[in-house]
């Protein structure tokens, strides 16, 4: 049975790679600076649509962390994101007017780019509203982490999505371009996550947090997945199955210890809930380009019309990674 299943997953992986190969034509190169990529550079892969206001801080955050090159697919932005990105010296940019949903939410595009440019590089897959935090990130650059992972023969690094939100109504404090979004969305839920195992892909399935608490009280099974494996030492054989939530071969999803210990892990601070959100939700709802016919955005739209406050008395204010470690949201593992 398990041989049969392994074989099926192998076929599935091949199929994903073929799909990525087919979908490569949906992207048109805007600026290609991939010649500048050096042997052991750390690469970031992103798809986005109309995120110009977030881009300056996003790029700066990851540059400071030690990302050497950004490979970005722009899905038909009309707010100047493309022009802005094209000017950046460390960005290679593609654009696509094709359906985000039918490229499986950009995964096919990125799978292709990673296959082509990511071989034997540490690849980070993040959205413009996600900010990686890992153990010692205040004193050690990302390279220190990847070197340590290399030395430990670890090829994938887990960072769970942590929904950040402001105190007060979302629209209360407008976000200015270049500003650290964590200044506004600085609160999170610390201890209401539910985890189950996915035996097929060997990954953990994490749900919960502020989104489940506010928008999915009645249908928790539909609340979004929060498990992510965004940092991977890539090879041509790898493929993301479903956003950055899980990978094939499935051994890469074993980012957790099963015998009682803790492996090292980080957190992706998800700063979706800024004042830009309601506009975005309305637009996405119209485009219907997100998961399961945008059930997520439907739920948001319902919630936001009633103008809820995500903040509650037991929300935690973000301080630093050590706080997240103590709360048990991430771990240093045996990195000291």
């Amino acid at each position: 049975m398990s041989i049969f299943q392994s074989y099926r997953l192998r076929l599935k992986r091949k199929q994903l790679l073929i799909r990525a190969f087919r979908k490569r034509r949906e992207m048109k190169s805007v600026v290609d600076r991939t010649d500048n990529i050096l042997g052991d550079d750390i690469l970031a892969f992103t798809t986005l649509r109309n995120e110009k206001v977030r881009l300056p801080f996003f790029l700066q955050y990851y540059r400071d962390m030690g990302v050497n090159h950004f490979l970005i697919v722009d899905n038909d932005s009309d707010d100047g994101s493309r022009e802005y990105l094209a000017e950046q010296p460390d960005v290679s940019l593609w654009s696509s007017k094709h359906s985000y949903r039918r490229s499986r939410y950009g995964v096919d595009w990125l799978n292709w780019l990673q296959r082509k440019y990511g071989e034997e590089h540490w690849c980070l897959v993040v959205d413009p509203d996600e900010f990686l935090v890992y153990p010692f990130c205040d004193t050690r650059p990302l390279r220190a982490l990847t070197d340590w992972l290399d030395a430990s023969s670890i090829r994938s690094f887990s960072a769970m999505l942590l929904d950040m939100y402001p105190k007060g109504r979302i629209s209360e404090r407008p976000y200015r371009s270049g500003q650290n979004p964590l200044e506004i969305a600085s609160w999170f839920d610390s201890g209401n996550y539910s985890i189950s195992r996915n035996w097929k892909y060997w990954n953990l399935w994490i749900q919960g947090g502020a989104r489940a608490r506010m928008f999915f009280q009645d249908n928790p099974e539909e609340s979004p997945a929060l498990n992510k494996v965004p940092l991977v030492k890539w090879t041509k054989k790898y493929a993301y199955v479903d956003s950055a939530h899980m990978l094939l071969p499935r051994g890469l999803n074993l980012v957790f210890d099963q015998w009682g210990g803790e492996k090292a892990s980080g957190v992706l601070l998800h700063t979706k809930f800024l004042d830009t959100f309601s506009v975005k939700a309305a637009e996405e709802l119209k485009r219907r380009q997100h998961y399961s016919k945008s059930v997520e955005y439907l739920a948001y739209a319902r919630g936001l019309n009633e103008d809820p406050e995500l903040w509650c008395k037991w929300s935690e204010k973000y301080i630093n990674w050590r706080q997240l470690e103590i709360l048990g949201l991430m771990s240093k593992g045996n990195w000291a």
Binding site: T139, G191, N192, S194, R213, V255, W259, E262, G328
Partner: protein, 565 residues
């Protein structure tokens, strides 16, 4: 007299150069062994950059792979060259390219000059130490290891298995006793030259060539033959993780390393600029003569190993999700579960909160909502009372609650109607204290003003549910502290069980309960049960209640509620 340094180098050559310059600037001659795997061009460039330093030499290169003879061969070549070229050297210090001297070199020189006959080499017999990772200790010396562990793991393992099966054993030459220890040593010229010039050296070399990880045993064993004064410890601070891989030092370890007073630390991350800049400066201030004291660093790394292997008890998260049975402890703290108490006593929850100072919740698994203490909708960790979210993963709800309230004991009520409660999970949890008064669910029915037909049906349902719960609690797999009384048993002497439950919770220093919870008025309860029986529903979980004799059409004056002292 001076100290000679051997450096084994394979990567980060720029850092190695920096360190080599630092040693020789302080008057210590350096011999560098560069791994033969380093390309010739790189090697040539490296020798050239150090060409201006007269006391740096390069020895013959060998291929070094972890766990193989190459490392020893390199060390031997370097030692021969060092002893021959620099006759004033008395101690030889073996280090690697990622080692960093933490104290002024002069302090090391003085320290060794004060101990002219001492060899610093960690050396212990295999049977005495638990260091070996991977299961090979004695067998390192009695089996043969022709296959690379890193590249041909399968062959390596199979060949070991084969040798074990056929009972192959190598003979240890000349009756030497194999010793092991850290490969970073500091030996005197006397000892080292005795090893190098031993007439039997060929025998030993041939033998150790096929020993597993000879760099941890060659010198450690042979030094025992010649040294007059072995101090079995390494002067190099080097920590290993649970897989036997060295821990790496970064910029943020600067203060720790400073305070450790160790002479040399390994391994340093090549891009740790602050460490290299901080420690490779000219010494300032007075020379210290303190002993190395790595205790604090030891603690930090020991903790890291513990975190990696044991983890935080009761925590379930993205990188810790143990298989059932491998949790060590399935929740993070002790908690108490009460079944039937809040039915039997009118003010049980506030009473319990008052007498124990714990957090007392209502029915957390009530079908309507999670009844958090004080009617809260959200509690620690932003855990909500939503029944759908709770029932989506009832065990996560419980483990989250216990984790979020670490340091504060949680108590909650359970009842047969709380069908989604993870009763198996609680029963198996040694942190749980479960106290059950079976059949007490009948009291609210008895008090309620409902049609008897409905009551009978409800009683039958609850009795069935509770019977199932009790089966779980009485199973052989139950690890919780479980106490079960029938209701009849309990009300005979309620104070005693209450006292022992609360004593066990250990919240306060042992003292007698001064105030008792108020028990519901049970007049007529026996008759109520009898009525159920008469209707064909047989309530048995509450034990035997006598039917109180009916007065002759005269209701008895209401009895004082049971007040227990």
């Amino acid at each position: 007299m001076s100290v000679g340094i051997i450096m084994l180098v394979h990567t980060a050559l720029d850092r190695a150069e920096q360190v080599a310059r630092h040693w020789s600037a302080a008057g210590c001659p350096v011999v560098i062994h560069v791994d033969a795997n380093v390309p010739r061009k790189t090697y040539k460039a490296f020798t050239k950059t150090l060409g201006d330093v007269p006391t740096v030499r390069f020895c013959q290169r060998h291929k070094c792979e972890w766990g193989t003879w190459g490392l020893v061969a390199g060390t031997l070549s370097a030692s021969e060259l060092l002893l021959a070229e620099f006759p004033e050297v008395r101690h030889v210090y073996l280090s690697s390219g990622s080692c960093l001297p933490l104290r002024p070199v002069q302090e090391l020189v003085d320290y060794l000059a004060a101990r002219p006959q001492t060899d610093f080499i960690e050396s212990a017999t295999t049977s005495d130490v638990p260091w070996t990772v991977g299961g090979l200790s004695d067998e390192r010396f009695t089996l043969r290891f022709p296959f690379s562990w890193k590249r041909h793991r399968y062959l390596f393992d199979k060949y070991v298995d084969l040798q074990r099966k056929i009972g192959f054993k190598r003979k240890v030459p000349n009756g030497i006793t194999p010793h092991m220890g850290s490969q970073w040593w500091c030996l005197t010229r006397q000892t080292l030259s005795a090893i190098l010039e031993d007439p039997e050296r060929d025998t030993y070399d041939t033998y150790f060539r096929k020993v597993w990880i000879p760099d941890e045993s060659y010198f450690q064993t042979l030094a025992r033959l010649y040294s007059t004064n072995i101090e079995s410890r390494s002067l190099t601070l080097s920590k290993f993780d649970f897989q036997g891989k060295p821990h790496i030092f970064y910029d943020d370890h600067l203060q720790l390393l400073r305070r450790s007073d160790c002479f040399v630390a390994r391994k340093i991350w090549p891009q740790a600029n602050r460490l290299y800049d901080g420690f490779l400066r000219d010494p300032e201030g007075a020379i210290k003569m303190t002993e190395p004291n790595p205790a604090k660093i030891d603690r930090i790394f020991a903790k890291a190993v513990e975190r990696r292997t044991q983890g935080r008890q009761g925590l379930y998260m993205q990188s810790r999700f143990p298989h059932e049975g491998f949790e060590h402890s399935i929740t993070s703290g002790r908690y108490s579960v009460f079944q039937g108490f809040s039915d039997l006593f009118e003010d049980f929850e506030p009473w319990l909160a008052k007498s124990t100072g714990t957090q007392v919740h209502g029915h957390l698994y009530s079908p309507e909502r999670a009844e958090f203490s004080g009617g809260q909708m959200v509690v620690n960790g932003a855990l909500t009372d939503s029944p759908a979210l709770r029932d989506y993963n009832p065990t996560a709800f419980l483990t989250n609650l216990i984790w979020n309230t670490r340091g504060e004991r949680q108590c909650f009520q359970l009842g047969p109607a709380d069908e989604t409660a993870p009763i198996w999970f609680i029963a198996k949890d040694s942190n749980a204290q479960v106290s059950v008064i079976s059949g007490a669910w009948a009291v609210p029915l008895f008090k309620s003003n409902r049609n008897f037909a409905d009551l009978r049906q409800e009683a039958a349902r609850l009795q069935k549910l509770e019977a199932e719960q009790l089966k779980v609690l009485r199973s052989v797999w139950a690890k919780a502290r479980i106490r079960i009384w029938t209701m009849a048993e309990f009300i005979e002497a309620p104070m005693e069980p209450l006292q022992s439950i609360i004593d066990e919770m250990g919240q306060h220093a042992l003292r007698r309960l001064t105030e008792a919870p108020k028990m519901a008025d049970l007049t007529g309860f026996g008759q109520f049960l009898q009525n159920l029986k008469n209707q064909g529903m047989h309530p048995y979980l509450m034990g035997d209640f006598p039917v109180s004799p009916p007065g002759l059409n005269q209701p008895k004056p209401p009895r004082k509620p049971y007040l227990v002292q």
